[in-house]
Amino acid sequence: MTPVVIVAAGMLAIILNHHPDPPQPDRVVLLPDAKGGAGSVVVRAAGGERVLSEAFAAADVSPDGRITERRETAESVKARYGALLDAQPPRPVAWTVYFQTGTDRLTAESRTVFATIKEELAKRPAPEIGVVGHTDRVGRLEDNDALSKRRAEAVKNQLVEAGIDASRIDTAGRGEREPLVPTADEVAEARNRRAEISVR
């Protein structure tokens, strides 16, 4: 009896060894961005490093860190990940508004976006607004940080006056770091004296 059990156990072990569950790889798929291009991701694992930089470039990474590059297609991504992509939050949208010369009041034209923003808020789940103020490059960096923050706060106040819940709005000042029109330092440029209102 005993030798039979040992032989049977041995055969079972052989069968199990020959039919192991294949280890599932982790997967990475680079997608086209909203503009139709693609950025890139650097894939690092025990077995090396690869850069994916084309839309639908993909990599499988085995549990022991081996990287195998693959290609996906729009169709294969939709089949495997369609439900996941459908669950994504709506993408942020943004408007740029400009200030009357020497004030923190928006131009009349800029104030017309408020109605559009309210419509956008009504369409979104748990919407939030970010207001980011900007300056031109006249003056010191620190002073422009403060000025851009004041501009953002001024826009927030006007959004609240227009009937938007203040608790949904956050403000930031980017100072002169992100000019719309690049200039040399100390150049006055009206198009850089602006605020960006984004709804996310």
Binding site: D26, V28, D33, Y81, A83, L84, P89
Partner: protein, 149 residues
């Protein structure tokens, strides 16, 4: 402890769990389908749209669950069914756009649309599974972790 005291403690625990008061929010839950929970420390609550998410939170989805989260820098994270996502580190300075994002997908699937942080400080944005680490240059991608399957 008398009955009234025990009821009071239970009520306070329920209130604390319901609120999950955020020190500084990393982002906000925007979409929820099926069963989704947010774990913070020892607390665990069902996710609803509008709930704040913080650094160190763990987000879990059930077999029918998915959740979409928009972080303060406009990074968008969407987890599919049977996922476990740890937002291990998150900070974002809205003036300089410096900060850090370190997310760990223990199992399941994650769709990412990178935000202002990856654009300004790509070296400080990382997405991980048990076997791979992704560095991100302003982009959209899917990460899937086989862990636990």
């Amino acid at each position: 402890m008398n009955k009234l005291g025990a009821a009071g403690v239970a009520l306070m625990a329920a209130l604390a769990a319901g609120n999950l008061v955020a020190a500084e929010a990393a982002g906000t839950v925007k979409t929820v389908r099926g069963a989704v929970t947010v774990e913070r420390g020892s607390q665990k609550v069902a996710a609803v749209p509008g709930m704040r998410v913080e650094a160190a939170d763990r987000i879990a989805t059930g077999p029918d669950g998915s959740v979409g989260i928009t972080l303060r820098d406009q990074t968008m994270l969407t987890a599919g069914p049977n996922s476990l996502l740890g937002l291990d580190k998150y900070s974002f300075d809205s003036t300089t756009h410096g900060g850090e994002l370190d997310a760990n997908l223990k199992r399941g699937s994650l769709a990412v649309i990178s935000g202002k942080l990856a654009k300004a400080s790509p070296e400080s944005v990382r997405f991980r599974t048990d076997s791979v680490t992704l560095g991100v240059r302003g982009t959209e991608f899917i990460l899937e972790a086989a862990g636990g399957q």
